[in-house]
């Protein structure tokens, strides 16, 4: 397999956990809440999904339970921040630490166990196209569903009343409340949605991408997803583009090493974070100059 084919085949799968988690967090942040606990929610979803698939053999069950558990877990954050109005940074870090700990605790007896992943399949007709057919257009079911889901999310956020309400709550919660929207309930629902998406992201990482349990398997993807939301400036399309870019970067690192290029891999690993800081400076500066 050539390096190009390797990149074409692997990029989407590598991007997927980042995309799922980032889209969830994007909705949370659009309602004006910042949840820093992504890494922990993903780790919890990952271990729950792995245990479910290990015992039942059903990926559908694994993904569903992981989404539910992570959403319920995110409700701890919602209770602290929206309920008793605790500091949002501290609450996010608290569930981040707790989620990572619980993940390691639950996964202890499954260390190095393997399960079956999901088969890849190509789109009818399109997968006959040379080069990109058997690589880019041959992916597992979750990838195809996520692409559809991303389009649906874009539509909901940009073309429906619900999307408008979410924006209103995030941009001016006082006005939204005055009009009569249940601000706290909407934020609560967004946090639950963010948790569920992190659960799915973790489930994909642990039961499809690398169907093997190893402690710390999320390996900073939650932080990258958090960066991705900023990098994508809270826009569905740009977040999806960023996810593919960051996915390409993580896969590209492997092929660069394989090709023996003398570029420190640490520099490539740092690029998402550097790009995010740069993006943050650019958008903040624009916002500042607008007043």
């Amino acid at each position: 397999m050539s390096a190009l084919e390797f990149l074409l085949a692997g990029t989407l799968a590598a991007a997927l956990p980042l995309l799922l988690a980032a889209l969830g967090e994007m909705v949370v942040e659009r309602t004006g809440v910042l949840n820093l606990g992504l890494e922990g929610m993903m780790a919890l979803g990952a271990v729950i999904a792995f245990i479910c698939v290990y015992h039942s053999g059903s990926h559908i069950l694994g993904f569903a339970v992981a989404a539910l558990v992570s959403a319920a877990f995110a409700m701890i954050f919602a209770g602290l921040v929206l309920g008793v109005r605790a500091n949002e940074v501290a609450a996010g870090l608290a569930i981040g630490v707790l989620g990572l700990g619980l993940s390691a605790l639950f996964g202890k007896t499954y260390e190095s166990q393997t399960i079956k992943g999901l088969p890849d399949f190509g789109l009818p007709l399109l997968s006959n196209i040379p080069v990109i057919g058997p690589t880019l257009l041959t992916q597992d079911l979750v990838v195809w569903l996520t692409i559809i889901g991303t389009v649906v999310l874009w539509y909901v956020l940009n073309k429906t009343k619900l999307g408008l309400i979410i924006t209103a709550v995030g941009e001016n919660s006082v006005a939204a409340r005055a009009i009569g929207y249940p601000v706290v309930a909407i934020r609560c629902a967004a946090v639950a949605f963010g948790g569920a998406m992190c659960g799915l992201a973790g489930a994909y990482a642990a039961t499809v991408y690398t169907p093997l349990w190893a402690d710390g398997m999320i390996a900073g993807r939650g932080w990258i997803a958090l960066a991705l939301v900023v990098f994508g400036t809270w826009q569905t399309g740009r977040v999806a583009f960023g996810a593919v870019l960051f996915g390409l970067l993580s896969i590209g690192q492997l092929s660069v090493q394989a090709m023996g290029v003398a570029l420190p891999s640490q520099l490539l690993s740092s690029l998402p974070y550097l790009a995010t800081i740069l993006m943050l400076v650019v958008i903040s500066r624009r916002r500042m100059s607008l007043g």
Partner: protein
Amino acid sequence: MRLRLVRRDTASRMAMIAAPVAALVLSCLASLILFALLGKPAGAALYALLLKPFLTWYSFSEVLLKMTPLLLIAQGLAIGFRANVFNIGAEGQFIIGAICASALPVWYPDGAVPMMLPAMIVAGALGGMAYALIAAVLRTRFGASEILVTLMMSLIAVQILNYLLLGPWKDPRGFNFPQSVMFPGNALLPILLPGTRTTIAFAFALIASALAYLMMQHHFRGYQLRTAGLAPRAAGYAGFNAPGMVLLSLALGGLAAGLAGASEVAGPLGQLQRSVSSGYGYAAIIVAYLGGLNPIGIVASSFLISVIYIGGDSATVSAALPVAAVEVFQGFLLVFYLLTFTSIRYRIEVASPQGSGAR
């Protein structure tokens, strides 16, 4: 008749003490239930976690050793948190501090440099401060959120550390382990308590706590910082320099974290390692909040968290608990603390139909 939550204007002194105690009790209960559900000996686990560190002088001294970086970092962070400046990148500032302090002994492993140790400590503290100031400048100059920038900078710091230890700074005779050479004797901090590994950095941490107390409670600068946190607009009308507050908060946070990083490589480690931090920068955030962002409270909370760390090590042996149990316990502590502390700030009031008492 309706019941409603009304926010108290000030948290009572009793609440400051009651909240962490309640959080500790609730965390113990939650852990007991969780460990029992997982089929672990829950009682033995909690005994190992909370009491065993006190049973021997050596394990107690290890608690003080562990407490040193946590206390230093948390004192620095709490100053910023009280001013609403959220430096959550102490992990990165700690790592950069450790790297800067390691430069001299790595370049001169024979120790042939006068004033080696003081130079290392200063380099570490200034390195951590400079690293934090990048975020401060991006915030004051461009308005970039210091929460996200400090976090990203931490992740970059980890990569810088990896680069150095896998490349130029790797010990040539280290069997390919990602660690630097062992430091010469004149690059190591003196031991404070004979027969233990606790260095004089523990004394630094206590002095830093005293300074933080004096500044926050008795100096005008501390008053400005607290006002900026509690009432940003009032601070603005009073003419307090807001960008200066951000710079000062991040500078002190970075300085303390850098000093802690230097003390770690020049202390118990004696070399630069990949696991130099083992999450102190993040744990210190828990410590800072658990201590009520109060310099005296932080001394107590850093002690408690260190006890759990050392207890966790023995629990892995005696109660067959994974190391993750410590993380779980820390997570519970912070969750319950945020719950109890913020709850105590409210009181339940019976709202009369006229709506008096509403705000």
